[in-house]
Symmetry: C2
Subunit: 389 residues, 2 copies
């Protein structure tokens, strides 16, 4: 077990109707003026917007609205939000939505406190000194941003998507009502499931000392999500299944599943290049294509780990580690297919000629390798993308 620091201070209010308590929760912290970030009109159609505004106004909270966060949230939006938050002397930011609204809020929160341009923080040109407090009402189980220290922002002008980890990124509170995810489409639900599984598997598939407890917790998250997914694809309003997926989303990315292990999120970095370049690709769908390809490329480095995954998560009975590893990867792929995820880059109309560019984006212009089960250089990354056809 490697040394670790575990810090997941987000207070999670989980269950039915919890969004109606948001005004009271924020008021108890003492905040009077907040910014509310959200995406499209869907929260207005569903009645969530009204619930939230009612609760906020009843508690005397002034709300500065920033609707219109896009999937793969954009730097330009964040810059605008920072400007507005400063002008309105906003004390905290409430995200209502999924990972996009939360990530956008996180980076905005840094932008308000720091004097530099937010892109300088994302590119590590400047170090963040702090951030406004943030909270969220979750409407999509996927990114795990509600408890994570991560955020991802896309800079359209420079065609770059960058992850940004910071302890200031932890939400003070997260309101998680599984019913709010009933209306998420089958496709987006499946994308979320893959993202949750990938957060867990990325931490699981690292080469380091044994961590039995962390391994078993990761396997618990995976098995529970897989079982719940089979229910929810047919019955999107099954509370238990939606609740399992929602809670798994938080636990998959709050670092519980990397305690004592390395934490590289290698496949995520490949996928960020892909959906950064092809904005129409959903992050989870990109991961569904890349994860099995990556796994087949690296598993031989340590087959015992992939074999354990196959046996414990997929109930593979095979005794030979090499064979079991491949059977486990096949099971994963079969599951992605079952929840109707794409399995090849062809399905996205990704031009084979763009692979050089993708590998270039991943390696920041051949200036870095990606630490992973094996260390991935420019050529390795090209090989993985090429194997996705």
């Amino acid at each position: 077990m490697l040394d670790f620091t575990y810090y997941a201070p987000t207070k999670v209010y989980f269950g039915r109707d919890k969004q109606k308590d948001v005004g009271k929760i924020i008021s108890d912290y003492g905040y009077k003026t907040i910014m509310m970030q959200y995406g499209k009109e869907s929260i207005k159609k569903s009645g969530l917007y009204d619930d939230v505004m009612k609760s906020l106004l009843e508690n005397g909270i002034k709300v500065v609205e920033m609707g219109g966060v896009e999937p793969n949230p954009k730097l330009s939006f964040v810059r605008e939000a920072v400007k507005s938050a400063r002008e309105n002397k906003v004390e905290m930011i409430l995200a209502v939505g999924g990972g996009s609204a939360i990530d956008s809020s996180k980076v905005t929160a840094h932008g308000v406190v720091n004097d530099c341009d937010v892109w300088d923080l994302l590119t590590r040109k400047s170090i963040s000194k702090g951030a406004l407090p943030i909270g969220c009402i979750l409407t999509h189980s996927a990114a795990g941003s509600e408890m994570s220290a991560s955020a991802v922002i896309t800079n359209i002008e420079e065609n770059m998507k960058r992850g940004f980890g910071s302890e200031f990124n932890r939400c003070k509170f997260a309101i998680c009502n599984p019913e709010l995810t009933y209306t998420v489409s089958k496709y987006q639900t499946a994308c979320g499931i893959v993202d949750i599984m990938a957060h867990t598997m990325e931490r699981y598939f690292t080469v380091c000392e044994p961590t039995e407890l962390t391994d078993r917790i990761a396997e618990s998250v995976l098995k529970s999500v897989i079982n719940a997914s089979k229910v929810v694809m047919d019955n999107p309003c099954d509370y238990e299944a939606r609740a399992t997926i929602m809670w798994a989303s938080s636990l998959s990315h709050n670092d519980l599943t990397s305690c004592g292990r390395e934490n590289n999120l290698a496949v995520h970095q490949l996928e960020h290049a892909l959906s950064g370049e092809y904005d129409y690709i959903s992050h989870g769908a990109g991961l569904a294509v890349l994860f099995p390809a990556w796994a087949r490329y690296v598993y031989q480095k340590n087959t015992s780990r992939f074999a354990q995954f196959a046996r414990r998560v997929w109930d593979v009975a095979e005794e030979d580690d090499e064979k079991a590893s491949l059977l486990g990867i096949e099971e994963m792929e079969r599951f992605f297919k079952l929840i109707q995820m794409p399995l090849t880059l062809k399905e996205f109309d990704v031009d084979k000629n763009s692979i050089d560019k993708l590998a270039d984006l991943c390696t920041f212009g051949k200036s870095r390798t990606i630490k992973s089960y094996i260390e991935l250089g420019y050529d390795d990354i090209k090989n993985i993308f090429n194997s996705c056809y």
Copy 2:
């Protein structure tokens, strides 16, 4: 899944030599004067005391010492600590030790902030308005107090042991170095293992809606602890095994294993009466006797849950739920025996005539029942104690 609030804000610094960072950690919070509570001279013999004092003094922190916390920490000690903390204008309390030092520190922290006598807080005569911040350096894996909202204090004069739950009881930080537990005796190590398992099983054996993810996490904690225990009983300096047990201690009682479930700690309440009356009984040893007896008394209420426990934790193959349940309880008992725990009250020299008194203590003089797998009244509790001979 029942609605729940999950809040485990303790920052955990886990690994080798982490105790040497304590001064820097406290200094970063800005505290200048702290109280340090610890037990016997063992931390001086082991060199831990010197490490801690060096780090604190190097960081300019003034230390008010309160050594002498006893196992089953005493109200009289807490009262004295409150007095000293007030006189010395202590800003935070650092516990160096196991559950006793941490629980004593927690209740002291409340005592300093509240005007009433601390016993009034424990008996709910007064409601706590807050507490000083606390941190800990853990030297024994057992109580889980390093991340829990619980504390237990014994009032010798009134012969009562009372649990005290409060959100103010969460440590701000916990320094967890598994090496510090190498010198814990075989017997106390085993007592700790039973306590960790009991914290997990108490939450697992509640009758409510399904919670697949929480169940699997609980099973992960149990299986990992059982495997590590077998290693550590023969090799007390095995880092991985000690680390697994230490991390399980924190996760077993930080409420992760009760998310979406009821949380009653019924057997703990029976045991508190036992070790409150017989101060020489270690809490974990008392639990080892009571848990199988309690399980046999209640399992028929819902055999499917006990059968799941038998199959997933103990690999029992039996298909019939009733039979599997009993086999699972037998396996638990066999494991407690393997780690040399007592299995009957006879082994403690507990007089059969005192059972009425124990049942009386558990029910606060027949004024309450204990919510459990089944609701336990005065006669049920007598029956359980009687079955322990």
